[in-house]
Subunit: 343 residues, 2 copies
DNA sequence: CTGTTAGCGCGTTCAC
DNA sequence: GTGAACGCGCTAACAG
């Protein structure tokens, strides 16, 4: 059929002037109709509408934004990885909340690479996105200072802005860690291991919470039970193997993020270990595992909603300043965290 | 500190002219330096570089794109939902491949709402994204005809374009279903149920493959074992409950997508059912469940890579026409699919 | 009610 | 090697 030869030059898009010509009016009148502004007679408007339909005119939003010095009604969200369910749920909640404001949420992953994170943030800003939701585990955000000062709507989520002032939705990482550790202590555990990632403020806070809590209960921290590893599944698996294979293994493990957990659980299972296990961050598969996984979780939907409110405020200029909200973390017992230490 | 009063008007961004003035040159020279084009003396260039640094100049990509009639170097990907791991993996692979071409991949979810899907696609086009990766389960894409004809780079992934011609990376849904069903038949199962979503071409194909395969093996299809439900976790759970609670329950279930599976597994577990189970689409938690879940899977990384190649070709105009690639599906036995029927 | 002028920020063209 | 003029597609601010 038309198949082959149709390497037709990408037909130039139809512009507002094409419509104006077709309708025998000026571009301005078309603009008014398109934007629903008054000042166009009913007949003229009808002619214009027809021309728009006939030509399939679609306003070029880039031109509009350029002229009006406004954003593209796009809101960018940058997450460390696309796998961690919590990030997804935050995005879903933010998306729902922002849709009401006519904003489309688009997501991209930084892969925990500070260089890529900065590139993404910069790209989003240069490309005229209206605002940014930044889930960052980086430890230096001073590069954002100029943008922030220029009033760019950037809201931090889950990890705090470091070196700059910016609105943020944070999590009570220490409190969550304390909850997890106290839960295990309450079940009689004394040799409690922790698996934490080497990077990121949240990881450091969770580790600190672990240390504080053990200290507060007079339980010495065995350095051999503190595993600090990169933020990946294989790292979680390896750390778990090292712990479980020890001559004096821990009786419980506190695993501080999703990816590490995703690696740890299969490792634990392979070894048939009866080690108690509590994970930071909830995930769907937690109920599928045997035993189901006890978790400490934040409330991602709330976080997403709150973050949405803050960006909107920032975009509208309603923001009173860099606001900071910390949401609590709670424990959901499901089985793995209630396993007793071996008698 | 500066805190409160700094409701400063969002300082106008610094433009190329500000830099030109600061460096005592024309905007043109600044442009040349920024874009690494020749024709600027070393000293002048140095002065300009300094001014750029000092003022923190960042070129406005919208203006550039408008002038050059090019995209924003953003590639939009629209997925039905943000939970299904396969979509995520396709996105990751596409992202990696497209990064080399200087394209940033941003993702948004349609929620399987055709209206929203169209809105997203339209928005992306109007906003000057360079291309689109569309994972659609809609059954009518004629609204895209004008755009396609204008040479918009849209590549379908996982679901075919309906009513229009467009490049696509597809999956052998029927073949995959056949593989799954034959695997179960080979284990001695005769009462094999299927849980499929009511919407979407892939679902219909998988169901057809199931029917064909049973017929080919002389096994009658019991309509009571064919569950067509909406595409959600709760629907998967309910369908499973209905099946398992029957007086004459199936001895095996073929569950045709991730969300349904995510609902089905807990339901199965609650009931302590020994029903064999094969899922279409792989997912991380499959290895965590007890027993681990046998799946039929496509190769998402390949799909993402291929899709990336097709969009790039379409963007460059290298595309010979609407190409269509179908990737095979293979079975990964893990345990749940090898459960025998009760003797 | 409708049209004209001007310019958003940038890059192409062509002169100097 | 450098800059002035013009226009990408659209709309505010004025005419008429």
């Amino acid at each position: 059929m038309a198949g082959r030869g149709s390497a037709s030059a990408p037909d130039a898009a139809v512009t507002i002037r094409d419509v104006a010509r077709a309708a025998g009016v000026s571009a301005m009148s078309v603009s008014r109709v398109v934007n629903g502004k008054p000042g166009v007679g009913p007949e003229t408007a009808a002619r214009i509408e027809n021309a728009i339909q006939a030509l399939g005119f679609r306003p070029n939003r880039m031109a509009t934004s350029l002229r009006q010095k406004r954003g593209l009604s796009l809101l960018g969200m940058v997450v460390p990885d696309p796998y961690t369910p919590m990030f997804t749920e935050i995005a879903v909640a933010a998306d729902a909340a922002l849709r009401e404001h006519g904003l489309i949420v688009v997501t991209a992953s930084s892969g925990r690479d500070p260089v890529r994170e900065r590139a993404l943030v910069g790209s989003f800003i240069d490309r005229g996105l209206d605002g940014l939701l930044l889930v960052s585990e980086d430890d230096d955000h001073r590069y954002l200072a100029p943008e922030l000062q220029r009033g760019r709507p950037v809201v931090f989520v889950g990890g705090p802005p470091v070196g700059v002032e910016a609105p943020a939705i944070l999590v009570d990482n220490r409190g969550g860690a304390r909850t997890a550790v106290e839960h295990l202590l309450g079940r009689g555990h004394r040799r409690i291991a922790i698996i934490a990632s080497t990077t990121g403020f949240p990881a450091a806070e969770r580790l600190a919470g672990y240390r504080q809590t053990l200290a507060a209960h007079g339980v010495p921290v065995d350095p051999a039970l503190v595993m600090r590893v990169p933020h990946g599944r294989v790292d979680g698996a390896r750390a778990t193997a090292r712990l479980v294979d020890r001559a004096d293994p821990p009786t419980a493990i506190f695993c501080t993020n999703y990816l590490l957990t995703a690696g740890a659980l299969p490792a634990l299972r392979e070894r048939g270990s009866g080690c108690a296990f509590v994970a930071f961050d909830d995930f769907e598969a937690a109920t599928l595992a045997e035993p189901p996984v006890t978790v400490v979780t934040q409330d991602p939907p709330s976080m997403g909603r709150l973050a949405a409110e803050l960006v909107v405020a920032a975009i509208d200029g309603t923001g009173g300043g860099p606001e900071r909200v910390t949401v609590p973390a709670r424990l959901i017992p499901r089985g793995s965290g209630e396993l007793p230490p071996p008698a």
